[in-house]
Structure formats: structure tokens, C-alpha cells
Amino acid sequence: MLTPSTKGPVAPTDKEGYLLDLADWSPEVAERIAQREGIALTDEHWRIIRLLRDFYAAHDLSPTMRPLVRRVYTELGPEAGTSLHLLKLFPGNPAKIAAKIAGLPRPTNCL
Amino acid sequence: MATLHLVNKAAAWADCEPLLGPEDTALLIEDGVYAALQALPADIQLHVLAPDVEARGLAERLAPSVRLASFEDFVRLVVGHARVLSWTC
């Protein structure tokens, strides 16, 4: 477990913490955004973050919850690929919070 | 059940026409009403939206088989068909 610190590069974000310039993203920036969300990133988190970044590179899309769960299921297996698991890693709204940390645009606002 | 085809550009008629089923109806609106000036098969149920026809000076130029529809007729056509397909281009 990483010790929360207030150090690390700062990148400009909007009021909800999404990066203004996606090119500013780096693993250090991710740690910093996660910290603001009250999340200490573990390897489990990083597997999801990498998968999200790959998804975005392939599809120019921040996935909403269902396709995200589906992709995690196929790529990382049935234990990781449940909404409950994602909810544990990224409490609240996993698709939104994980996208924020992964440096993707906010998922299309459905609700 | 039948489809109501809305056509709002004359050039979109070429896309719509091959997909008109025997029970289907076409309603030309906006710039789609110009499509009613060309020679069209007589067996098509063809309506044109009256205010759009009037605005464009076409009322006297329509074939007798073409029917003028008011907005209320438009609503009745929508209700009387299972679905509405809107063509544009």
C-alpha cells in the first residue's frame, strides 16, 4: 500500500478532477488524482487503469460500466470482471472514477 | 405493420423509394415536397405537407394522385402506422 502524500506532479483538472489536457497524464499524475479521490493505488487498480487506457486507445471511448465489466471479464478473468470488484476498487461510480484516474475523458453522461 | 416514411429533402427520395413496402405511406415535408414534382409511380401512397407545398408555390403543380396533408393529417398518419422512418441526406 502506498503512503498518501501530497507530493507528485500537479496537472490542471476541471472542478470534478478530470484532466483538462489528456496529454498531461503520467503514472505519477494518476497517483495524485487517485489520492484526491481517497484511493491508494495497488496493482489491482493498475491492471484496470492499464486496461482502460488500452480500451481508449483502441476505441476513442471511455467505456460505461457494462462494457467495462465485460472487458475486464474477458481480459482479466471472472474474479476481476464483476461490478462488485470494480466498486470495491473505485467506490462510488467505478466507470467515472477509474476513467478520471486513467486520464480519459469523462464517460458520456447517461443519467 | 406498415411504415410511414418522412422525406425532408428531395434528394432523399431516391433512398426512400426502393424501401417503400406495399402498405407503406410516404409523407414529403420541407424541401422533400419538391420530389412530388417528378413523375412518380401511381401506386404509391404519397402525401405532401400542405404548408410546405404552399410556401414553395407548388400547389398547382402536383399530380392529382398526390394528397395534401395538414399537420393534423400528419399526426393521423403517424398514429396509423407502426413506425416512422425519417429520410434525409
Binding site: 483502441a58 476505441h59 462494457p67 | 411504415t3 422512418l85
Partner: protein, 118 residues
């Protein structure tokens, strides 16, 4: 209630926001568990071309978004054969598998829908 919704996609992928914004509504309809089908017609078939890179003009890549559709549960993608013949396109040009329909097939597809939109 789950409905059968057909999206008629006949806009070119770039040059206006119609194609991408239409795809957004396709993805949301799928996310809300509607039975979604797509019918590509006319220059809408150009959305399916491989090798697109929207970044060259500062836009998202329509072909990349389309390739996400199976992951959203959208697997019913149809293409108008007469349009493709007119435009000189074949399935090997496409980034997504499609089922080809002639006019009769398209009429049957439309007749089977609750809603058709763009």
C-alpha cells in the same frame, strides 16, 4: 421495456458531427438494454472503412468507436448492398463484420422494428 430500435446511419463519418453523435445514442441505447440494430446506407458506409485516423483533423476516429460495438452488445450491423456496389465498397474494406441486405431484406428489417431513427 426493451424495444427493437434500428439506427439508420447514412451520414459520412467526418465533415459533420452527425455520425459520431448518432453513435453516442447507439451506445446509450445498447447500455439501456434495447435491442439495437444498425443499417449503414449510402455514404454512411464510409464510416466502416479501415485505416481511419480522426486525430489528423482533431477528431475522434469513427471507425475505432464502431469497433467497440460488439463489447456494448451491438452485434446486428447491416449494410446496404446496392449502396456499396454504387460506391465500390466491399466487406474487406470494413472494420466491422456486417450482414449485407438488398432492398427486400432492408424492408423486412424495417418491418420488424418498433422504432427507426437516425
Amino acid at each position: 421495456m426493451s424495444k427493437k430500435i434500428l439506427f439508420l446511419l447514412n451520414r459520412a463519418p467526418y465533415g459533420s458531427s452527425y455520425a459520431l453523435e448518432a453513435l453516442e445514442s447507439v451506445l446509450v441505447a445498447a447500455a439501456f438494454e434495447q435491442r439495437v440494430s444498425l443499417l449503414f446506407k449510402g455514404t454512411g458506409l464510409h464510416q466502416l472503412l479501415t485505416g481511419q485516423d480522426g486525430a489528423a483533423i482533431g477528431q475522434r476516429t469513427v471507425g475505432k468507436v464502431l469497433s467497440a460495438l460488439p463489447g456494448y452488445g451491438v452485434e446486428r450491423c447491416f449494410a446496404c448492398r446496392p449502396s456499396a456496389e454504387r460506391l465500390g465498397l466491399a466487406e474487406r474494406d470494413f472494420c466491422l463484420p456486417v450482414k449485407w441486405l438488398d432492398y427486400e431484406g432492408q424492408r423486412r428489417l424495417i418491418d420488424d422494428q418498433d422504432i427507426v431513427t437516425g
